[in-house]
Subunit: 308 residues, 2 copies
């Protein structure tokens, strides 16, 4: 049986207020999404594993300072950029994640290294950094991650107990990718800088398998973005898989059930991207928009607002 | 509608080799389990919430140096005792957890404070400790947590890259409790010191909602113990709930499916305790035994080996 390779990515649910989103800035976001989705898709057309595709796409988004992941992450309460990432492959069910790491250029590569080089799944803070150094991952000084816009966001909050999302008007800053390769293998990856001015080593849904990221060849690959705590309690990513496997819902039905019927009434804002082995991109959100793009059969589309 | 209050606790799956378990030591374990289950049950007979019952039971097990949680936790690679805990209530779906914390006398109380006093679910390492201090939780010096037996376990491993479980012969060191109160509310809590000689800030399933701990009044309350990474990938605790809600399995069927049909063939050893609103204790494991006890209608039973 042959499968149609496809990749879907997101750069966070929610949108910047249209009044703040100049045509130039909108174009910059769309270009960055296109670049990332193409980076992932080219892995698939070269016959590589879905894992390579989601990693390539997320690395591209992490390296772009427009998104709150890797370079350009938000600042925490102590003026540091602490990042989380996770990855899961649908064929073996293996997974890896890092949480609260600093100075690792691409946290998603650290997550992959945890999956491939340790018997563990989730490593945190200085211990995870120590492991990443031993695994030969690239580190960068604070200046590399610095972004003036993020810094000003933090300056407005740092003397308060408040936290803030990616943008003042409720843009969730997370990036993610799901892919299916020519052999029908699924994979998912997610990466984030979390919330501006976050305290106490808070960890959201991004590095948690089953909450922000999940993949199984039996069902689907899912990457989430939104109010992290709601996605954790809902086990949002795994719930999509369970609704397919145990209740025979289609991928689209399962995603809509989680985002619209479960999370929205509970107050949980956000969205997710997903793929099953039919290769039909699913992008569902209960926010005014979601930064997203997909590529399939050589065709690509990048979108921010609903219906655009 | 009235419900029958009940509580089930575990002190870890697997068993100490019978040759190492003297009658005196076995009696000490059984007494500690009895004491903990009674501490939880008395909350229920006083009309308190299931949450109070699981917290009381887990605090009792954390304070007992026989179990690898709180006092008597194992040592990590750096000779420190780092602990994880989580709690979830089935009525509101709220949850709290701490990971990789040191010197907090009762990590499960810190998990409860995270749930009740922050908008977050999971706080880690020094940030979580800072929060716990602000929340007024009791701290203890390293000596309080010290246990000669644990220290000798670590001494045997500290110059290696190896990790070990609670006991050399595969006892998983975790404690947990599930309860139903007179109003039909469910709750679950789990606490652990993790693996001896663990490195890199490794986090297992215990503090992860849906992996080691889950509760919903719609389905069940679950607390797990075993090979953490397998329980994370399987979303073991939430999977029990999904099999009940989406596939109409009974609690017992759902627990057996997860532990025997899914985890065991994949190589994941361990067990879980669970309750639904019928108040029938379920204690399932694929190891030679599981330290466990339950109390219902004033009757109690504490057991270590299978069928005993």
């Amino acid at each position: 049986m042959s499968y149609v390779p496809a990749i879907v990515i997101h750069g966070g649910a929610g949108t910047i207020l249209k009044s703040l989103l100049t045509p130039e800035k909108e174009q910059a976001y769309l270009s960055a999404l296109q670049e990332a989705v193409k980076a992932g898709y080219s892995e698939l057309t070269e016959g590589h594993h879905a894992l390579d595709a989601v990693i390539a796409a997320v690395v591209s988004l992490e390296d772009c300072p427009l998104f709150n992941a890797g370079r350009g992450s938000v600042f925490n309460h102590h003026g540091k950029q602490e990042m989380d990432a996770s990855v899961m492959r649908g064929d073996t069910g293996m997974a890896g994640a890092v949480a609260a790491v600093k100075n690792i250029r691409n946290p998603v590569l650290a997550a992959r290294a945890v999956m491939e080089k340790t018997p563990h799944i989730l490593l945190t803070s200085s211990g995870a950094e120590e492991f990443a150094r031993m695994a030969g991952l690239q580190f960068e000084p604070d200046e590399f991650f610095f972004d003036e816009y993020r810094y000003r966001q933090w300056q407005q909050l740092k003397d308060t107990q408040q936290t803030a999302l990616d943008h003042s008007d409720k843009k969730f800053g997370t990036v993610g990718a799901v892919a299916i390769d020519i052999n029908g293998n699924l994979a998912a990856a997610t990466s984030t800088g979390g919330m501006t001015n976050k305290q106490f080593g808070r960890i959201g849904d991004t590095p948690l398998i089953g909450a922000g990221t999940y993949a199984s060849n039996k069902t689907c690959a899912v990457s989430c973005t939104g109010d992290g705590e709601y996605f954790i309690r809902a086990l949002a990513a795994y719930d999509v898989s369970c609704l397919m496997e145990y209740k025979n819902l289609s991928l689209e039905e399962a995603c809509r059930t989680v985002i619209h019927d479960k999370l929205k009434p509970a107050g949980g804002e956000g969205g997710l991207i997903a793929l099953d082995r039919n290769s039909t991109p699913v992008m569902v959100f209960n926010t005014p928009g979601m930064y997203r793009a997909y590529m399939k059969e050589g065709k690509t589309s990048a979108i921010i607002h609903e219906g655009v």
